[in-house]
């Protein structure tokens, strides 16, 4: 790590993280977010906006899991092992 700052470290042993590392990670996070991925002004999105969008995205993914669980609870309850539906599910494993 070439740019590691040599600052005072506490006895907890938590290493100092460079700003560059954080910037890199934040940009990777940005790639994942549907809202910000297509933003043209590539350097202008602040880190706090990325964090905000990440929280929103995680919440919306949780909501989607809820809705899908609702749907699936109605659909899957009627499946028994020998039906063609079960064969479809088995084929999804391939």
């Amino acid at each position: 790590m070439s740019s590691r700052r040599t600052s005072r470290q506490q006895s907890s042993g938590v290493p100092r993280i460079t700003d560059d590392q954080i910037i890199q990670l934040v940009s990777k996070l940005r790639q994942l977010l549907p809202e910000l991925r297509h933003s043209r002004r590539s350097d202008k999105v602040s880190a706090s906006k990325v964090l905000q969008e990440t929280c929103n995205y995680i919440r919306s993914l949780h909501r989607e899991v809820e809705d899908l669980s609702d749907r699936l609870s109605e659909l899957l309850s009627t499946i028994d092992a020998d039906s063609p539906e079960a064969a479809i599910i088995r084929s999804l494993l391939m």
């Binding site: 993280i17 996070l29 964090l51």
Partner: protein, 178 residues
């Protein structure tokens, strides 16, 4: 933290573990002759999906270990199918206390005060609550790395669930048309 192998492998692992978990829950309920309501079935599906997603990561990330530790005390029938949690609940609580204490002592850089830094800290705190085990991650970089992995895994989970729902929909339609 090992990066995920690739999305398809992860999805396959997740689906296998999830269907296995669902089967286990199904057998468990059939044996007890429970007439489960839709709500209980939905919770089973959601819970087993969450555990399967964490298990498919094979203990390589903090968030997956935290999820399994969270659930391993409550669901005994699923316990045998998941890798043993590396941290018991007591250790998890102890880690949280230590990290909270050490965070107070951390020397922040010159830009760590002022309104912008306060905003960052607030957002980071929110993120910590959303990502499982987020409060155990001492530094911001680990938190962001775990977040990246968690979001990718969540997306894979949603994708698999969506496909299953679509397939079941189609199957139900074919059945209805017979």
């Amino acid at each position: 933290m090992r990066p995920p192998t690739n999305s398809t492998t992860f999805k396959r692992e997740f689906l296998k573990k999830w269907l296995l978990a669902l089967q286990l829950c199904n057998n468990h309920h059939n044996n007890n002759n429970n007439n489960n309501g839709v709500v209980e079935r939905k919770n089973t599906i959601k819970l087993s999906a969450e555990i399967a997603m964490a298990a498919a990561r094979n203990g390589a990330t903090c968030w997956s270990r935290a999820l399994i530790a969270k659930h391993s005390s409550s669901s005994s029938s699923l316990h045998n199918q998941t890798p043993p949690p590396r941290h018991s609940k007591k250790r998890v609580l102890r880690c949280k206390r230590i990290i909270r204490r050490s965070r107070r002592c951390i020397h922040h850089g010159p830009a760590a005060h002022g309104p912008a830094a306060a905003v960052m800290r607030r957002k980071t705190a929110v993120l910590r609550k959303l990502v499982p085990g987020g409060e155990l991650m001492g530094d911001e970089a680990s938190l962001i790395r775990e977040t990246l992995d968690y979001v990718t895994s969540l997306r894979a989970q949603v994708d698999v669930m969506r496909r299953l729902a679509r397939a079941s929909d189609r199957a139900a339609m074919c059945n209805a048309m017979k």
